[in-house]
Amino acid sequence: MDDYDILQLLDRTDQLAVPADFTFRFWERVARRERKVHFFRRLVPVATFLFLFLFPVRTRLQQIVSRQNQEIVFHQLAEDTLIEESILRLGLSEVSTNVLSSEEIVEILVPKEILLFSPGNKKGGERL
């Protein structure tokens, strides 16, 4: 097989005809591209605002919420310790382990008005 044969074979591949709407589709593509660019240009200021303003605000809010959660846990621990200590002083430790839970003893023995102002409660008096 010489070079001429190879060329003859290569000539056998298809010759594509250009579609009639080739130019029309090109301008459609240009229009689509321009719309996309326009959209992203409008998106840039919004994205910048979100990044520069909302992101730091969100971070700050998260810090506040996490600090509050820590305070709540601390108060609950303080309340539990106080209850256990009171039960020990009253000599009810056996009752608390065998018959009633420490919370039940507190509910029976301690008036509601006092419970409202225990460290585990919010300032408004609502029980946590």
Binding site: M1, L16, V18, R29
Partner: protein
């Protein structure tokens, strides 16, 4: 300044309609060049559209250092190879054990069937060539570009282009040699038929 470069300068200045002239002038050449590189009609159309779009958008930054057609082929080649690499990647993950097509000696119903088969075989082995060899061969044999322009399109030297075309032709010669064998077999069987018919007539 080259005519196409002037047209592109007009496009850059805001005269969009002038770009239609560039499209009309080069669309057929570009489409066929890409079809031979990619082996897929729809993909070739898509890449041709993208090439024109890229040139249209970058019209302002076009520097007429070389011929416009060289620039066009360069852009088209880059987009085509990126598309091919992406397609290879996707195809590999869809079917990593895809077997290569095997062409065997077969019988043909008629001349048209044989012609169709030849087209398919040549296109298949053209696609199997390495990217650089394929580009050099297509630009040299189909587009009829001089070696200097091919070297400019491929950003390489003229001897390198000659070597690429030679290697591509050699590879195709090896791969397509079975067609020659098929042809010889067909001629032999045809001759046998003729001699048998002649023998009958004599008898």
């Amino acid at each position: 300044m080259e005519e196409d470069a002037l047209l592109l300068a007009k496009v850059a200045a805001g005269n969009r309609d002038v770009f239609n002239q560039i499209i009309k002038k080069y669309q057929a050449r570009l489409l066929n060049f890409l079809y031979r590189l990619l082996g897929d009609k729809h993909l070739a159309e898509e890449v041709a559209q993208e090439t024109f779009l890229r040139i249209y958008l970058k019209a302002a930054s076009y520097l007429p250092q070389s011929k416009f057609s060289t620039y066009l082929y360069q852009v088209a080649r880059n987009i085509a190879f990126n598309t091919m690499r992406h397609r290879k990647f996707v195809t590999f993950f869809r079917d990593p054990f895809q077997a290569d097509k095997v062409y065997e000696v077969r019988t043909y119903q008629d001349q048209e069937d044989y012609r169709q088969y030849l087209k398919e075989v040549v296109q298949h082995f053209l696609q199997k060539l390495p990217e650089a060899q394929k580009t050099a061969l297509v630009l040299a044999k189909y587009e009829g570009l001089p070696y200097e322009e091919i070297a400019a399109v491929m950003k390489t030297s003229v001897p390198a282009v000659k070597s690429l075309v030679h290697r591509a032709t050699e590879t195709l010669r090896k791969k397509l040699s079975f067609l020659q064998q098929e042809k010889a077999d067909r001629n032999l069987s045809a001759r046998k038929c003729v001699s048998m018919a002649e023998g009958k007539n004599h008898g």
